[in-house]
Symmetry: C2
């Protein structure tokens, strides 16, 4: 079959190292992909472009429709908007899907039986980025929830559950306080849940829901929620499954899709060949399934799993009781 | 010494049972308190008052200045505002303090060494309750952060750390996205932290902060944060320490203070003599310290701890490996 076109960005911090590892693995496994590089992030900021991305990069991503992205750094401070968020919203990537499963007994975790998929709304909520200074001492941020936005993400969660044969979809909201915004989310959740009688559904207040998930993640399956809760709770789920360094994510839209690790660019450990490439690699595996190359996806997933199972571990997950050999980014990719 | 005046409300659901248990323990331990009951919640709603509280109750609470409150139920739906939140804001109870420590090996937990205090801002954030319907399909909620509000809560956290000899205060914010609102919170945190050179301080993005806390709570000490994060993360901390049923909280203002359990009114198990009164009791212990009766507080705390250590447990924490005897609410109080 012919090659699929994919844009990719090497990113900042540990980005180039884990991207290099990932691309080598994709090639070795025979992925049928025509890669086109785009430069975004630090280099673009340094050139004086405060958006971190130029028109050529936008055009390339839009043309290729599929984008494999390493972590990027947005400078801190008032003048800069998060480039990650800009990309998600500009491309209409409404669904952020983050599978978090433990790899026990091969990777240390207190929760050996967890297998949770966080489906995070990816365009609305406090991420709308509408903030203003009301007075010298009062600032405000707008939380935005729309019916079409909620319908898209909730339907995505149930369709995902159906396709992957998942049994239950749980919704996290704080609708006892935010009766209109989170109230709309839970109302739409119930409407759409009724269309899927074969999938269990359940709504929980996010405080106790997050608490139960952090304590007994094995009781959860697919969990759908507004953007900011999803940001926090997906990091929790990934970390307690073993490490945030192990989780990949897909960002799905009507036209385009982006695949990435859930962790950041970790500048403190960059350039040292110690970062774990697993997050980005698992993002790439999700990408292969998305572009119709499940054969390659499976091959890579099996090889990755075998490496983890053989105890060949990067420093972040190295543990005397579970690991046999501590390796660097490159050696992990080789294995 | 003379008795201190305290208002109390029996609450809804399991409220009356756990309040009865708590009052009996306070009396047996010789607490020097003149209690005055106020009726709020369900009964008041049923009488047609949609605020759930009447003028007499407000006056009584304001006059007594100290309020011991069992969980109350606010009816769901658009017409009702959360009475819990109304009380916190009307009385200016700006600091919500929630200690979460494990009781290992006596109560089952995956985190035997945790001893975290969540200091939650209690008046601002999305809890300002400003929501509106923009169009048929678009709803918004306002997140509000003010400099005086942040100054109060951050200073409270550092003073708390100083008085209780705590080593570190961590701040959770999402200031890479909410640069103005959460940005103000972290700016003020850094300003005030500089006034306490003997206490370690640290700011973390709430996603990875919550993840680390859920995975290794023993690495945290005092953690201060905006209202909604505090709501979610205090439930997580309490649940992973053993159970949300074990945590009490104080709500501190300039004039008044309110003490309560962190859990809700649990109508599903009410009237069955099975609820754990520990949350409210620990709220009452914090109250005794607040009103200058640390002797009584210590007596009750020791008796409570001995009961827990003897394995005399209510159903929620009963576990064959850690418990010797399953008891009801009343029997737990007797013990
Ligand atoms: C880097 C940051 C803007 C981003 C987010 O908040 O969404 C990250 O935390 C994530 O979860 O992908
Ligand atoms: C009952 C609810 C309004 C309340 C809150 O959201 O603050 C509760 O969850 C709490 O944490 O005390």
């Amino acid at each position: 079959s012919t090659a699929v076109k994919v844009a990719y960005a090497k990113g900042d911090g540990i980005g180039p190292e884990i991207m290099d590892a990932t691309l080598r693995i994709l090639e070795a496994a025979g992925a049928r992909i025509d890669f086109e590089e785009v430069t975004i992030g630090e280099q673009v900021y340094l050139s004086g472009n405060t958006s971190g991305i130029d028109k050529h990069a936008w055009d390339t991503i839009r043309k290729n429709k599929v984008f494999l992205k390493a972590p990027i750094t947005t400078p801190r401070g008032g003048g800069y908007k998060s480039l990650n968020v800009t990309i998600r919203k500009s491309l209409g990537l409404y669904a952020n899907v983050r599978p978090c499963n433990s790899l026990s007994p091969f990777v240390q975790t207190l929760h050996p039986n967890m297998d949770v998929v966080i489906v995070r709304e990816n365009e609305e909520d406090l991420y709308a980025g509408i903030e203003h200074q009301q007075t010298d001492e009062v600032v405000q941020c707008l939380k935005l929830i729309t019916r079409p936005g909620v319908e898209k993400i909730v339907r995505y969660a149930f369709e995902f559950a159906k396709v992957y044969n998942r049994k239950k979809v749980t919704c996290f909201v704080k609708d006892n306080i935010m009766k209109h915004t989170d109230g709309l989310f839970s109302t739409v959740f119930q409407e759409i849940a009724a269309e899927y009688p074969n999938i269990d559904s359940q709504t929980m207040i996010v405080d106790i829901g997050a608490a139960k998930l952090a304590n007994r993640p094995e009781d959860f399956d697919v969990v759908v929620m507004p953007n900011l809760y999803g940001d926090i709770i997906s990091d929790i789920a990934a970390e307690i499954s073993g490490s945030v360094g192990l989780a990949g994510s897909s960002n799905i839209g009507m036209e385009c899709a982006m695949f990435e690790a859930i962790h950041g660019s970790a500048p403190d450990i960059s350039g040292q060949n110690i970062a774990n490439p697993s997050g980005l690699l698992r993002g790439a595996i999700m990408m292969l399934n998305h572009i119709g190359q499940p054969d390659v996806a499976e091959k890579i997933e099996n090889a990755w799993l075998a490496t983890i199972e053989n105890g060949i571990h990067t420093a972040d997950i190295f543990n005397e009781n579970h690991s046999t050999k501590k390796v660097g980014t490159r050696e992990f990719a080789d294995a």
